[in-house]
């Protein structure tokens, strides 16, 4: 290794940040327990790096444990290893929900698992941020990536609503918009079980009243959310996250859209049910708080 420290070598993406003191040693120990084929340089075959994961999850931990709070249920439905797709809803508010699912899988599962989401291409183009997300195993959303990761027995995080979902306004946060069928084809093709999840609360964290699409495009993002208090900064919020039992579908992935529709609908209704449960828990809690 020519006398250099591994961490120093793999962190060019973070050159401008004195990141080392920010790494929580407990988080680093959890990264060591991830069952990923890290090589000699602390990098897995897709470029996910231990050092960047430790840094990234140390930052995410602050959001996950101190700024927000996630009440999760049904964690036992997530298999400890082997290919699986976590399929759920965006509840508005940029993609805080994705980040919280990522954190839940990393901090709550034993052993920890890395959920690999499919990020928007525009994120990959942002200096440092793009490099960091790639090094954390979050790749541009391409069908090639998705099927390769599943064939490698990884855990894929999928939001079939896509950007239509993150752009939900506060009053529609619990509703589901149109699901693409790509995720179902992928599941059938790779014979991957689907674990549905329902996420509640991101709409309250970032109460969006409007999205500015043209201004966003000028800034190189798909849209700019405007909240009740103008700034797109989320408020500290408690979220409800429920995972349902794994659903397995039989098929080839070459089915017509009409044949896929009932399968997609089955996943959608499982998610709808999990959202309803989460919403009930949330409201019971708010009532309690209101009375006390």
């Amino acid at each position: 290794m020519m006398g250099h420290d591994v961490g120093e070598k793999v962190c060019n993406s973070l050159t401008m940040i004195a990141y080392r003191p920010l790494i929580n040693e407990k988080v680093r120990a959890r990264v060591e327990r991830l069952e990923l084929p890290f090589g000699e340089h602390g990098i897995d075959p897709y470029g996910a790096g231990k050092e960047e994961l430790a840094f990234g999850f140390s930052i995410i931990e602050i959001l996950y444990k101190y700024y927000f709070w996630v009440e999760s249920r049904g964690l036992e439905n997530i298999p400890a290893r082997g290919r699986v797709m976590l399929v759920g809803n965006h509840s508005g508010g940029i993609a805080i929900d994705g980040l919280m699912v990522l954190a839940t899988c990393f901090f709550e599962l034993e052993p920890p698992r890395l959920a690999q989401s499919m990020v928007d291409k525009f994120l990959v183009k942002i200096p440092t941020f793009g490099a960091l997300s790639t090094r954390m195993g979050q790749f541009p959303g391409l069908p090639e990536h998705a099927s390769r990761l599943l064939e490698d027995e990884r855990m894929l995080l999928v939001f079939p609503e896509g950007a239509r979902g993150t752009a939900k306004l506060a009053h529609e946060a619990d509703e589901l918009v149109r699901f693409g069928s790509g995720f179902m084809r992928l599941a059938l093709e790779t014979k991957t079980p689907i674990v549905p999840f329902g996420f509640v609360g991101a709409g309250e964290a970032l109460p969006t009243v409007a999205n500015l699409y043209q201004l966003g495009r000028l800034l190189g993002v798909p849209y700019l959310p405007i909240t009740r208090y103008l700034l797109p900064i989320p408020k500290p919020t408690i979220f409800q996250l429920g995972f349902g039992e794994p659903i397995r579908f039989e098929g080839t992935g070459r089915e017509s859209e009409d044949e896929l529709e009932p399968m997609v609908e089955e996943v959608k209704s499982a998610i709808r049910e999990l959202i309803r449960e989460g919403r009930a828990i949330r409201e019971a809690k708010q009532d309690e708080e209101g009375e006390s």
Binding site: H4, C11, V124, P127, A131
Partner: protein, 304 residues
């Protein structure tokens, strides 16, 4: 076996020639450049592959196998001449192979065929079209030569044609795109980007070409060795200093302040990865690399 190597005087050409000669193959070469220390028995004809003299070599030697490596791949060299060599030269070689009864043709191409872009997938498979030609027109002739060589598969089905898309090479030869880029003590990178790079030892490249000949493979194959490494890790392991430059400043920095020159389109190659899936080649030939990533970088550094 009678093997003709075009571009034999290049570093990889020499490695391949030595490999074949050492195991008893009859080797002959064509190159515009001389090869002063060619091993005994290896005959080098100093001519252009598009000239009559080159065709005479085909006629007189009657090779069974042709390894075509006479392409100009330096991304820093951009000229009319380069287009002519890469396209007309490849055409001449394919035609001669057909006319003089060559059984096997190996086209040595580059994995940069696939291009680097924010939406390019990791682990390209051979069926993927090239991306990013619009942002890097300097690569267009290599892409065209690659596809043209592939067309020999249906135009002349009696020839076993293999198109190899080989990753960057590194080693004691200190030659090639990656070696040139890593030459100086300070290596420019794009601030906030750190793509995976895939490279293999030049000896392993020679072994891979030999494996392709032995297995008589037909078709298009990616060729790779060790697992990809982040660019910053390669730079540091080579004992160099990465010099992160903001993207917008890149084009005024390159070629100045002791930094290597790179065309504008090459900057995307410092931002986004080109990683290929070489499993089909390994299955078809049984090829295994003998130098891992650290040994390969060390071989490059120690030859200084």
């Amino acid at each position: 076996m009678k093997i003709l190597i075009t571009g034999i005087s290049g570093k990889l050409g020499q490695r391949a020639a030595s490999k074949f000669a050492s195991r008893g193959d009859e080797v002959i070469g064509i190159d515009r450049r001389p090869w002063a220390e060619a091993p005994p028995g290896v005959e080098v004809h100093q001519t252009d592959i598009r000239k009559r003299a080159a065709e005479d070599v085909f006629r007189a030697f009657e090779p069974e196998v042709v390894v075509h490596m006479a392409t100009v791949t330096h991304i820093s060299q951009q000229s009319e001449d380069r287009y002519r060599i890469n396209l007309q030269g490849t055409r001449a070689i394919v035609d001669h192979c057909h006319r003089y009864g060559v059984k096997q043709l190996i086209f040595v191409g580059r994995h940069t065929y696939y291009g680097a872009a924010p939406d390019s997938p990791l682990y390209h498979s051979e069926d993927e079209p090239p991306l990013g030609i619009h942002s890097f027109p300097e690569l267009a002739d290599l892409v065209a030569a690659d596809l043209y060589a592939g067309s020999a598969l249906w135009r002349f089905p009696q020839i076993d044609t293999a198109v190899l898309r080989i990753v960057y090479t590194l080693g004691p030869g200190r030659h090639g795109t990656l070696a040139n880029y890593l030459r100086g003590p300070r290596v420019p990178t794009v601030l906030g980007f750190d793509p995976l790079f895939q490279f293999m030892h030049e000896f392993d490249v020679a072994n891979a070409i030999a494996a392709a000949v032995d297995a008589k493979i037909r078709g298009v194959y990616n060729v790779a060795g060790p697992a990809p490494m982040p660019l910053s890790a390669i730079i540091r392991e080579a004992g160099r200093q990465p010099m992160p430059v903001p993207d917008a400043m890149m084009h005024i920095t390159l070629g100045r302040f002791g930094m290597p020159f790179l065309p504008k389109g090459a900057i995307d190659h410092l931002k986004y990865p080109i990683v290929v899936d070489a499993s089909a080649f390994k299955r078809a030939t049984g090829f295994q690399h003998s130098y891992d990533e650290s040994e390969t970088i060390r071989a490059f550094v120690e030859a200084e």
